[in-house]
Amino acid sequence: MNLPLYAQLINLFAALLLLLAFAMLTQRRVLSLINLFALQGFVLALSTAVVAWSTHQSHLYYSALLTLALKVLLLPWILHRLIRALNVRWDVEPLINIPATMLVGIMLVIFAFNLATPIAQIAGTITRSTLGIATASILLSFLMMITRRKAVSQVIGFLAMENGLFFAATSTTYGMPMVVELGIALDVLVATLIFGVFFFQIRETFESLDIHHLEKLKER
């Protein structure tokens, strides 16, 4: 099979995304987690740009720029500020140990691909196989949120999931209408800010960002 160049590029970026998702899943250090997240955003922006270029859809350029601004510069900067302020550099050992997580992750990827193939068949876009990867990276970030103990890393998982969604949107459907994308972007931004506020509050109430403090409310 020989796809046109941009298609190969997009597939490459897709693969990179998946790789990064795995990397984040296994990463213990919060700091490098953030860097990985920024990297993921960057790859996302690139792929968006490529899609834009290949399909000559101008509004995708904007969303690429948006991504760049938001997910590569703004959010990582905010997160950096946060962890410096709260100095949580290390995440404690995740709930499930890394190899097990990896195994589960691989299962998920396979599952996601199976899920996506029937759809990929009917997809009109040239970048059909990316849907599976998008799904996989979403599920992986979900898994990451489950396994992490620190509030920060959970949030990063949340944002990573957002990335996966965004990738799915751009690569499989050439992007949502602009209104929607702006709205989504806004929400993500606000969400992050609120998270920031929360970190400080949780911190000052529990002297830690470890979420096992947040297990008081339950059925006894």
Binding site: L95, F111, N114, L115, F142, L143, M145, I146, T147, R148, R149, I211, H212, L214, E215, K216, L217, K218, E219, R220
Partner: protein, 665 residues
């Protein structure tokens, strides 16, 4: 103007009166002096409407309310008419009594009380005339609700709150059963009017399911074994007129529901169903009277007697179902007539007895029999009316209780008609149980009357008890008269009941039975059985007068007062006469296995020895508590799912997602 219109109007007026009561909450005089008498008048009018409907053909109407697809349908046929008569007639007496009884009730309470009381009455009336499942359920539940608030009027006592809770809970569960039974009846087409339910053709299994659901659903309200647990708790808790209303009338709406659903809506009665009803009825009546004999709280005792009488009614209905199911409609009619007649009679005398208990409670503040005694000397009127009620409930001729039990016996004596020898030999045993419980009732009321009204009074009252006031007397007189009339002229009422059964089963009693005139009651034929209470009463009265005169003339009427002799024992104190518990002792001795007895026996060296014993109802232990425990355990396990850890919650969502994805693929 048709009966249905009148019935609806009157019920609405009742609601209006209730609201008026709330409006005049600041003026108790107005409530007791105007609103309650007006309510009584409405009740009387309703009774008349009932009589009218007994003769008239069924009339129906549709009210501009209810669900958009299912407006309120109302219909009054002879069956409803009969129960409207019951409701109106009995609540007339009770409302009259209330006018006097609620004097001196706390202001802010009286307004609410008036509202709930009249809403209660109105919802009962609507239950009787409802002609679609929705209106029936709505009014059925508002009946339960309003009576619940009446039961919890004294909500400061923990016991009353518990009583109210159990009452409403069981009532609600029963209602769910009824609702489900309607659903089964409906069978999936047409709407939920009773007509549609009548039309629905059910397969054998579903018919039986509907029957069972309805039977237990209504049984829960009627206080049938083993769903009776709420009754002896709730009835005593309410203010006495309300207890009278609940015991006298509300339980009967459950009987109405049974008859309406089983005979009218389901139709195609089988003898197996009848046997079920019969056996439950027998068990209920025996159990009820045995526990009544163990009580020393007057109102509790009366409540247990309601259980017993519901059992007797069920025996009558069960017999009729057995006969109809095995193809003997005439005998079936006899059973139905017996059951319905006992329904009316029980309403009357139980209402009377509760009113009497209320009068005692008001003037002495006592409910515990062991503290009463000798009241006949302070409140002769109450004593007399109570005696009438007691004789009636003990099924003694020539009062009304006897007539219906007599009819039930007659129905059971039709047993030779039946083919299946098992049923044929079960029926007489049920008759034996009926005889036993009847005799036990007699004993129980000798105990009640003897301990409460006769003998020496057992504990010093602050002031001399007053007899019932004018309003209260009026109420009791009305019901006592009803006991007498229904006892002396049963033929008239049975003629009406015959119409009811004609409308319901289009079969009636044989004509010669009706032909035998108002004096002689001969349900099947004069040769088979006959009974004439009037001759009965007249002869006894005549002999009474005769002997009295003869003794006076031939001998003399000299009389001397002295201390009681009692075999020459000196100073008789009231501690030497039997208490209520003492009187029940032989029964406790004979039927010991039935009861769950907790004894507290004093040590021999106890300076103030106290002997206490509690009789408990086994049903709590083998039925209610296990269910509660099961639910509790289940919910504890479900609660474990939610133990506060956010990762686990996320995992739930994750797994749900995965599972659904797999499912969709």
């Amino acid at each position: 103007m048709q009966p249905v219109g009148a019935a609806v109007t009157l019920s609405v007026i009742w609601i209006g009166l209730g609201i008026a009561g709330l409006a005049f909450a600041r003026a108790p005089r107005v409530i007791t002096g105007v609103v309650f008498p007006a309510g009584a008048a409405v009740a009387l009018a309703l009774a008349v409407t009932g009589l009218w409907a007994l003769g008239a053909p069924a009339s129906s109407a549709i009210l501009p309310a209810g669900l958009p697809d299912l407006p309120f349908h109302v219909r009054v046929d002879p069956l409803s008419g009969f129960f409207l008569l019951l409701l109106g007639g009995v609540s007339f007496g009770i409302s009259l009594f209330s006018c006097g009884y609620f004097r001196g009730e706390g202001e802010q309470r009286l307004g609410l009380l008036c509202l709930q009381y009249h809403v209660f009455l109105a919802s009962m009336a609507f239950v009787l005339i409802a002609d679609d499942a929705y209106l029936f359920m709505v009014t059925w539940e508002s009946m339960a609700l309003s009576s619940y608030f009446l039961v919890t009027t004294e909500h400061h006592s923990e016991q009353n709150r518990k009583a109210g809770f159990i009452y409403l809970l069981i009532a609600h569960l029963g209602a769910l059963g009824i609702l489900l039974s309607f659903g089964v009846l409906h069978g999936g087409h047409g709407d939920y009017t009773f007509d549609a339910l009548r039309q629905a053709e059910l397969s054998g299994f579903w018919a039986t399911a509907a029957f069972l659901l309805a039977f237990f659903g209504f049984g829960a309200k009627a206080g049938m074994l083993p769903l009776h647990a709420w009754l002896p708790e709730a009835h005593p808790a309410a203010p006495s007129p309300v207890s009278a209303l609940m015991s006298g009338v509300m339980l009967k709406t459950a009987i109405y529901g049974m008859v309406r659903v089983i005979y009218d809506l389901i139709g195609g009665i089988r003898w197996e169903w009848g046997l079920t009803v019969l056996l439950f009825g027998a068990a209920t009546s025996l159990f009820g009277v045995l526990f009544a004999l163990m009580q020393h709280d007057l109102k509790r005792l009366l409540a247990y007697h309601s259980v017993e009488n519901i059992g007797i009614i069920l025996i009558g209905i069960g017999l009729s179902m057995v006969f109809i199911g095995s193809g003997h409609p005439v005998a079936g009619v006899l059973g139905l007539v017996a059951g319905l007649y006992h329904t009316l009679n029980h309403a009357v005398f139980k209402g009377l007895l509760f009113l009497g208990a209320g009068a005692i409670l008001k003037s002495t503040g006592l409910r515990n029999l062991n503290e009463m005694g000798g009241l006949i000397r302070y409140m002769p009127h109450t004593a007399f009316y109570f005696l009438v009620g007691a004789l009636a409930i003990s099924a003694l001729p020539p009062l009304n209780g006897f007539v219906s039990e007599w009819l039930t016996f007659q129905a059971s004596l039709q047993a030779p008609l039946l083919e299946s020898s098992v049923v044929r030999s079960l029926v007489p045993i049920v008759a034996a149980v009926l005889a036993l419980s009847g005799a036990l009732t007699g004993m129980c009321f000798v105990k009640v009357y003897g301990v409460a009204f006769l003998g020496q009074h057992r504990h010093e009252l602050p002031e001399k008890p007053r007899d019932a006031s004018g309003w209260e007397r009026a109420g009791m007189i009305w019901l006592a008269l009803a006991c007498l009339v229904l006892g002396l002229l049963p033929v008239l009422m049975i003629g009406y009941l015959n119409d009811v059964s004609r409308a319901l089963l289009n079969a009636g009693l044989p004509d010669e039975a009706m032909a035998s005139g108002w004096l002689w009651l001969a349900p099947t034929s004069a040769a088979q059985a006959s009974y004439s209470p009037i001759v009965f009463l007249l002869v006894i009265a005549a002999v009474f007068a005769l002997t009295f005169l003869v003794v006076r003339l031939v001998y003399h009427g000299r009389l001397r007062r002295a201390d009681p002799w009692d075999c020459g024992f000196p100073e008789q104190t009231s501690r030497m006469e039997d208490t209520a518990d003492g009187f029940g002792q032989p029964i406790r001795h004979i039927f010991a296995p039935v009861f769950l007895i907790r004894r507290e026996i004093p040590r021999p060296d106890d300076p103030q020895p106290v002997f206490r014993q509690e009789i408990e109802d086994r049903h709590w232990n083998w039925m209610y508590l296990p269910v509660a425990r099961f639910i509790e355990v289940l919910s504890r396990h479900i609660g474990k799912l939610q133990q506060g850890r956010i990762s686990v919650y996320l995992l739930y969502s994750f797994l749900t997602l995965i599972a659904l994805l797999v499912f969709v693929q």
